[in-house]
């Protein structure tokens, strides 16, 4: 049997009375980009937060590389090679760039003292090599709150990349980006695939998802409504199906 990078079996999640996810089966193959589509409130973000360890499922099982993982937490998911670019970007806007790049996993010497010079060096290297930031306003010591939307998103993405993830989760990464910035982002996701890694890509824009994903999973009202290989379906067909799902709750 093929071993998936990530697999969810019969995962459900409820918040009190509200059933956010119901019996979700999901998998992510090696070197595969999966697009998640669904309306607002369909449960995409909840699903992502379960995969990243932020929420724990009410029931169901999670497997990384074929091995069952209990009580997944954010640090645990990271150890397993999963990095996330969150919709809310998860930046601390009053803090400097280097603190944001190393947010939550600061490089330290013995006894937890910060290795500030190393963090600044790495930040500087990432900025010039990976982010392609040339603006003088963007230095390791500058405050992230002053950046443009695209620059902030760049920080969130580079942060995910620096830590050498096997799986990159991108939750609405094009939100608030200009056209040019979106195009750059799409080529970046293609880069993840070329590097032999896997990605989960969530976006409102069907065109973006269609262009980068190998496979599209449609979520509706907390359930998997269907999935398609993008090479077997045209963009128009996919759009028709999405409309039908939104109206009827099934692919009919």
């Amino acid at each position: 049997m093929e071993e998936y990078r990530l697999e969810l079996k019969h995962v459900s999640k409820s918040f009190g009375e509200v059933q956010a996810l119901e019996d979700i089966n999901f998998h992510l193959g090696r070197n595969e980009v999966v697009g998640l589509l669904g309306d607002n409130g369909a449960g995409k973000s909840t699903l992502i937060k379960i995969i990243t360890g932020y929420h724990q499922p009410t029931s169901g099982e999670i497997y990384f590389n074929g091995i069952k993982v209990d009580n997944l937490t954010v640090p645990k998911a990271r150890e397993l090679g999963l990095e996330t670019v969150y919709q809310e970007r998860a930046l601390a806007e009053l803090q400097t760039l280097w603190r944001n790049i190393f947010l939550g996993r600061e490089l330290t010497t013995k006894m937890g003292f910060l290795d500030i010079q190393r963090m600044k060096d790495e930040t500087h290297r990432l900025m010039t090599e990976s982010m392609g930031f040339t603006s003088h306003a963007v230095s390791p010591d500058s405050t992230v709150g002053k950046y443009s939307g695209g620059e902030k998103q760049g920080v969130a993405i580079v942060r995910a990349l620096f830590f050498n993830a096997d799986i990159v989760v991108l939750d609405e990464p094009t939100m608030g980006l200009s056209l040019k910035e979106s195009a750059k982002l799409i080529s970046f996701v293609n880069g993840i695939k070329q590097a032999g890694k896997s990605a989960i890509f969530i976006d409102h824009n069907i065109l973006h998802v269609y262009n980068v994903a190998d496979r599209v999973v449609v979520i509706d009202r907390g359930k998997v409504a269907g999935e398609f290989q993008t090479k077997h379906i045209s963009l128009n067909e996919l759009m028709d199906k999405m409309v039908r799902v939104a109206e009827t709750g099934s692919l009919g």
């Binding site: 954010v74 640090p75 809310e88 998860a90 009053l94 996993r105 600061e106 003292f113 910060l114 010591d141």
Partner: protein
């Protein structure tokens, strides 16, 4: 011979070392420079209006002996406020620490050795501070109640408990003078330098290192800035928040010990009158109540401004009635200055 034609230049680890520019220095340290400016300006005004007093060492000795009692607590309180939390219960922790101190001293009377007894009593006081701080943090994190509300409650609770447990009695602590702790905590180095000032400097340095050079401090800034981001990025926000309250607890118990040792006397109302001075030091120093920004050095300077105003008001020839008015004026103007500097920095 030119050899680097066929060898790839080895990638040297590039150090990020921005050239020092005066503008950048001012921008990144605007809050601290602002309060330093206020500090120096006030000092010059004091010297100009009462040169006899302010050019003699006695007045500085007096500042250094009275200011540390609240300034010490302002240091961990700064860390609490940076984490976007608030603690109003530290005055009662001073009292409860000393209640534990007295109980422990009494309960260990069979040892017949004042130094051992006082050692145990000090440990008991610090432990009490840590426990009360932990309880504050636990209630705040577990029930999700704003810390301002919780610590108003626990301030009443523990200052009340101190009165109940002592039945309102006050008593002498003359016995501490037989131990080396008396000189260690509130003695003097030379004619002018009080030991409590040494402890303030030590705690200030430790507080600065913890906040600026340790992972703990990095997480404190993140939590104060955006607690949601901190959680998404895997910071254990509950644990860090409990720890900041424990820090205030331990240091407040220590401040209670210093203040009581200084007069070798215990009052169960210990701590009353410390609340506003300590808070004012933090805000005067430029720490934002909105969290995520603040400096230890600013608080240190803020505390000495607060500590100097009372004596200075009298020395420059105004009546004591002016003290609060001048406090208020300086606090309000400084807070406006900090807001202005912060806006410009953005």
């Amino acid at each position: 011979m030119d050899t680097h034609n066929n060898t790839q230049p080895q990638e040297v680890t590039k150090h990020y070392k921005p050239a020092f520019t005066f503008r950048r220095f001012i921008r990144t340290n605007s809050a601290q420079l602002g309060i330093l400016g206020v500090f120096v300006a006030l000092w010059l005004i004091f010297i100009a209006s009462a040169p006899k007093t302010f050019l003699a060492p006695q007045i500085y000795s007096a500042f250094m002996s009275s200011t540390p009692f609240f300034a010490i607590m302002a240091i961990p309180l700064t860390i609490v406020v940076v984490a976007k939390e608030m603690d109003l219960s530290f005055p009662s922790i001073m009292a409860m620490g000393m209640v534990s101190f007295n109980y422990t001293y009494g309960a260990t009377a069979f040892i017949h050795n004042a130094t051992v007894q006082v050692t145990l009593a000090i440990l008991a006081a610090l432990l009490t501070g840590a426990l009360i701080g932990w309880l504050n943090g636990f209630i705040i994190v577990k029930f999700g109640i704003p810390s301002l509300v919780v610590t108003i409650g626990t301030q009443f609770l523990w200052s009340g408990a101190a009165l109940v447990l002592t039945q309102g009695a006050n008593f002498s602590l003359e016995f501490i003078k037989q131990t080396f702790y008396y000189n260690l905590f509130v003695g003097k180095i030379g004619p002018y330098f009080p030991m409590q000032m040494f402890w303030l400097v030590l705690i200030t340095v430790l507080g600065w290192v913890l906040l600026n050079r340790h992972r703990f401090g990095a997480h404190v800034y993140l939590i104060g800035d955006n607690v949601n981001s901190a959680e998404l990025m895997g910071v254990n926000t509950s644990r860090v928040r409990i720890q900041v309250f424990m820090l205030v607890g331990v240091v407040s118990a220590f401040a209670g010990i210093l203040a009581s040792f200084y007069v070798a006397y215990f009052w169960p109302t210990l701590g009353a009158g410390f609340l506003l001075q300590t808070l004012a030091s933090v805000f005067l120093g430029g720490t934002s109540v909105l969290g995520g920004t603040g400096t230890i050095l600013g608080t240190f300077l803020g505390a000495f401004i607060i500590g100097a105003i009372e004596a200075a008001t009298v020395a420059v020839g105004l009546t004591g009635f002016w003290t609060n008015f001048i406090y208020g004026l300086i606090i309000v103007l400084s807070v406006i200055m900090h807001m202005y500097l912060r806006k410009r920095g953005e």
